[in-house]
């Protein structure tokens, strides 16, 4: 398959020219094509925000739900039909702010899905308020004297929660981002990719140039199975490392722990209740 197989004719893209979201969309199409994932077997799930519109811009099944609620829906879609490739994709406000509790518990649950977070360190769609990852000091229409809250560190938090796959990418590097996405999608379990991207309209601090100067790839010697080393990299602020920080291959995906799939694999929609067995259960309440 090729990236253009995911092109959607007539998609009216509502992003600002020059926005980092375009880079992510292209990297994603490339990754899906190289992994040979057919649009019919793919479900993109998103919340609300600029990033959350991504599923409307490529050929796929999609569930574009509510602000912050992509992960519960995505988890259930995967649990109802484990044969689908499920990608939950939204912004930093959506996933870490409004959806923070779901994010935390989805990591604990470990469904086999990919969680892409477009991290522009600002709320784009509502025009530039602080997001959980906004740097301290950033002035916005609401944080008029500058952000004072400690920024959320999604990578450190995910590693602390023993997420099974934790990575960071930068939308300005299409090739590397595509490679990281491929690994994440292939990973059997929850995979977080926090994708840094500039918001040209509202984030005047973390510009393309700023990201260029403040990121670098993890060096080849980094061992993603070493949780402490991964944690140390996640805490770095001098530069923001890119690449796969952490990988835990021990954790079982949520769907595989479900008794519903213990001795059958067909998706739920193919099943009918065994009414004779149900009558038998009712009969056991006799004595």
């Amino acid at each position: 398959m090729e990236a253009k197989d995911f092109n959607l004719e007539h998609a009216a893209i509502a992003w600002c020219p020059g926005c980092g979201n375009f880079g992510i969309l292209n990297a994603l199409k490339g990754a899906l094509a190289e992994l040979d994932i057919a649009p019919e077997g793919l479900v993109m799930v998103s919340g609300i925000g600029q990033a959350a519109k991504t599923p409307h811009y490529l050929k796929c099944n999609f569930f574009n739900g509510l602000h912050g609620r992509a992960l519960p829906a995505a988890t259930a879609i995967k649990a109802a039909n484990p044969g689908l490739t499920v990608i939950a994709e939204s912004g930093d406000g959506d996933m870490y702010g409004e959806g923070g509790n779901h994010w935390l518990h989805t990591i604990r649950r470990n469904p086999n899905l990919t969680n892409l977070v477009h991290d522009n360190m600002v709320y784009g769609l509502t025009k530039g308020q602080a997001s959980p990852t906004s740097p301290q000091g950033m002035i916005t229409p609401v944080q008029v004297r500058g952000v004072v809250n400690e920024p959320f560190n999604p990578l450190a938090a995910a590693i602390a929660l023993d997420a099974s796959f934790v990575a960071r990418a930068f939308s300005g590097d299409l090739q590397q981002t595509k490679e990281i996405l491929k690994q994440a999608i292939r990973h059997p379990g929850y995979a977080l990719v926090d994708i840094l991207h500039p918001c040209v309209s509202f984030n005047k601090l973390n510009t393309f140039q700023w990201f260029k100067e403040h990121t670098e790839y993890l060096d080849a010697g980094h061992d993603p199975s070493d949780r402490e080393a991964a944690f140390a990299q996640a805490l770095r602020t001098d530069r923001l490392p890119l690449g796969v920080f952490y990988l835990n291959r021990e954790r079982r995906p949520f769907e595989e722990t479900l008794p519903a799939y213990a001795d059958r694999s067909e998706p739920l929609y193919r099943r009918r209740p065994d009414l004779a067995k149900l009558a038998a259960v009712i009969a056991t309440r006799r004595d």
């Binding site: 649009p39 077997g41 479900v43 519109k53 574009n64 259930a76 518990h105 479900l258 998706p267 004595d287």
Partner: protein
């Protein structure tokens, strides 16, 4: 005991109440007695009232033991099994001079006769004072003069898997209690006349409301439940979790109610049949996603087991206080269906139907119950899953599939991802036929109209109302949901040829035949287990008919048959008197 009479229509049998503190094992006695008395040939109906605590407090279970089916709460107590000193005081206003009290006479310290059976002392002698439950169960069985073999069977079943010595000790403890009870009965000192037996009852299953709902869900094809615990909605989650392996159900305890219902919507999207079970406080958190269901036209089944609010209210008590919440939950305008089962057996069938209706109309379907209904249990011969329809209405998508195809009746064929050549897109923003975001305001209007056309499809007798009484009634007593058995029993005792009962299980939209019944009534007496008459307001809004009289109760307890009978009698006498003076 006396047979039915007009003043106390509850007396088709005997009401046995077991009372004591939490942690004393009231539920054990309830379980054992239900099994023992049912296998002996009595109909049983048990409902409980308890405090929100794990130990201590004052709690009770009432078991109506009768020769014919009863399913309503009756306040009067014929036999009180008092497990602690607080019990008689706790139940003071339900006791009468005729109430037989059995317990440790010295310990209870009452200035009225007590059938003296020292449960704790007998239990201690049998090996452990914790066996008092078995002693009490044995004692009641003795008072009813049942065959001891039934007691033994029930205890063995209850303690299945426990060490044999423990089972034997409990049986021995029960036997001592049994002998004491039987001697009192045989000596004519108990004053208890057991009702007639009905041998057919012995083989009936005993089912509680939560279980009936869960079984109905399975029958309706439910294969996904996500919920967050909140009494009294938790029971359904518990039962479906227990059925998970056998019936291939995904049962997940979500991190909160918001996650639970969004999981439910995701599951339906992918072709599962999902439900959530909660109570008003939990449902309050789900309202955002109810609106999402409306927008994406997703089926959803939402069970709300009512308890008194606002906020966390009385956590363990009952109320029909959330009808308006269900009716108006979610922002924007979209169709929904609200069902309220009238009884435990109806909970089974209505729940199964809820899945068909949700699937067929692609709308959220509510099942409103309450603590009284989900926590009660009875013997039920007729739960029969055979023939219940559970075929999902999903289509294999063609390549050019559009999820929101504009159709004359508003229903678009529902595809799911991975089934067919097409793509399935749903969106919470206003969308075009393919599910993509649109800001085309003309299309917006067409989409709103499409969704609202489904409301017209719902305005039929999907679940017909129940009508009992003469065709030429003047007064119509109207109720909804779990109040049915109490209203029915109270009216049966009154025997008025001009009074009929109309009961609704489809509470929104109103079934047209119910509207016709209402229009015919000269006088409407509305019965609701809430303080503001929520259903009455809905009736007025939908039909223009206001209730003439309202009987409302909101102290956390269900309606008792006796109190309804009294209220009806008073209202109807006033009516007759008024007429008399006009002549």
């Amino acid at each position: 005991m006396s047979q039915t009479n007009q003043a106390t229509p509850s007396r088709t049998g005997v009401t046995v109440v077991i009372a004591g503190e939490a942690g004393q094992g009231i539920q054990t006695v309830e379980y054992l007695l239900a099994k023992i008395l049912k296998s002996e040939g009595y109909h049983i109906f048990a409902s409980k009232e308890y405090m929100s605590r794990i130990r201590g407090g004052a709690n009770s279970t009432a078991i109506r033991v009768s020769s014919a089916r009863v399913a309503a709460y009756a306040a009067g107590i014929d036999l009180l099994v008092a497990l602690d000193r607080e019990a008689p005081a706790h139940l003071a206003d339900r006791l009468s001079p005729a109430t037989i009290i059995v317990g440790d006479a010295a310990g209870l310290g009452l200035d009225r006769p007590v059938l003296d059976i020292p449960f704790a002392a007998i239990a201690a002698a049998a090996g452990n004072k914790l066996f008092a439950n078995s002693v009490a169960s044995g004692a009641v069985a003795g008072l009813f003069q049942v065959d001891f073999a039934g007691v033994e069977r029930a205890i063995a079943a209850y303690f299945r898997g426990k060490p044999q010595a423990m089972v034997d000790q409990n049986i021995a403890a029960a036997r001592t209690g049994y002998e004491a009870g039987r001697e009192l009965a045989a000596a004519g000192r108990a004053g208890l006349t057991p009702p007639d037996k009905d041998a057919a009852v012995a083989g009936d299953p005993i089912i509680n409301g939560s279980e009936a709902l869960a079984l109905g869900a399975v029958a309706g094809g439910c294969n996904f439940i996500a919920s967050y615990p909140m009494s009294p909605g938790t029971g359904v989650l518990i039962y479906l979790s227990q059925f998970a392996a056998d019936f291939g159900i995904v049962a997940e305890q979500a991190e909160d109610e918001i996650a639970a219902i969004n999981m439910g919507l995701g599951a339906w999207y992918a072709g599962a049949r999902a439900m959530v079970s909660t109570s008003g406080g939990g449902f309050a958190l789900m309202t955002e996603a109810v609106s999402l269901a409306g927008m994406i036209e997703s089926p959803m089944v939402i069970h709300i087991a009512g308890r008194p609010g606002p906020a966390t209210g009385l956590p363990t008590r009952t109320e029909q206080g959330d009808l308006e919440l269900a009716l108006y939950a979610g922002h924007g305008e979209f169709p929904r269906l609200i069902l309220a089962p009238r009884s435990i057996d109806a909970a089974f069938y209505r729940t199964a139907e809820a899945f068909q209706l949700a699937d067929r109309f692609q709308v959220p379907v509510f099942i409103l119950t309450d603590q009284f209904l989900v926590d009660s249990f009875l013997n039920l011969p007729e739960l029969d899953p055979a023939g219940l329809e559970n075929e999902p209405r999903i289509v294999a998508t063609p390549a050019d599939y559009r999820r929101y195809e504009l159709t004359p009746d508003g229903l678009s064929p529902r595809g799911i991802p991975g089934h067919g050549a097409g793509l399935v897109g749903v969106d919470s923003d206003e969308h075009d036929e393919a599910g993509h975001i649109t800001e085309d305001l003309e299309l917006r209007v067409r989409m709103v109209d499409k969704r609202l056309r489904k409301l017209e499809l719902l305005r039929t007798d999907l679940v017909p109302p129940l009508f009992h009484g003469p065709a030429d009634y003047r007064t119509l007593v109207v109720g909804w949901g779990s109040t049915y058995p109490a209203i029915r029993e109270a009216l049966a005792g009154l025997d008025r040829p001009d009074v009929a009962q109309l009961h609704l299980e489809q509470v929104y939209p109103l079934p047209p035949s119910a509207v016709a019944y209402l229009q015919k009534a000269e006088r409407i007496i509305l019965v609701e287990n809430n303080a503001t008459g929520q259903f009455g307001k809905l009736l007025r809004q939908e039909t223009g008919r206001a209730a003439s009289d309202r009987i409302l109760k909101y102290n956390g307890m269900p309606f008792a048959v006796e109190e309804l009978a009294e209220r009806f009698a008073a209202l109807l006498t006033a009516d007759t008197a008024a007429e008399g003076s006009a002549v």
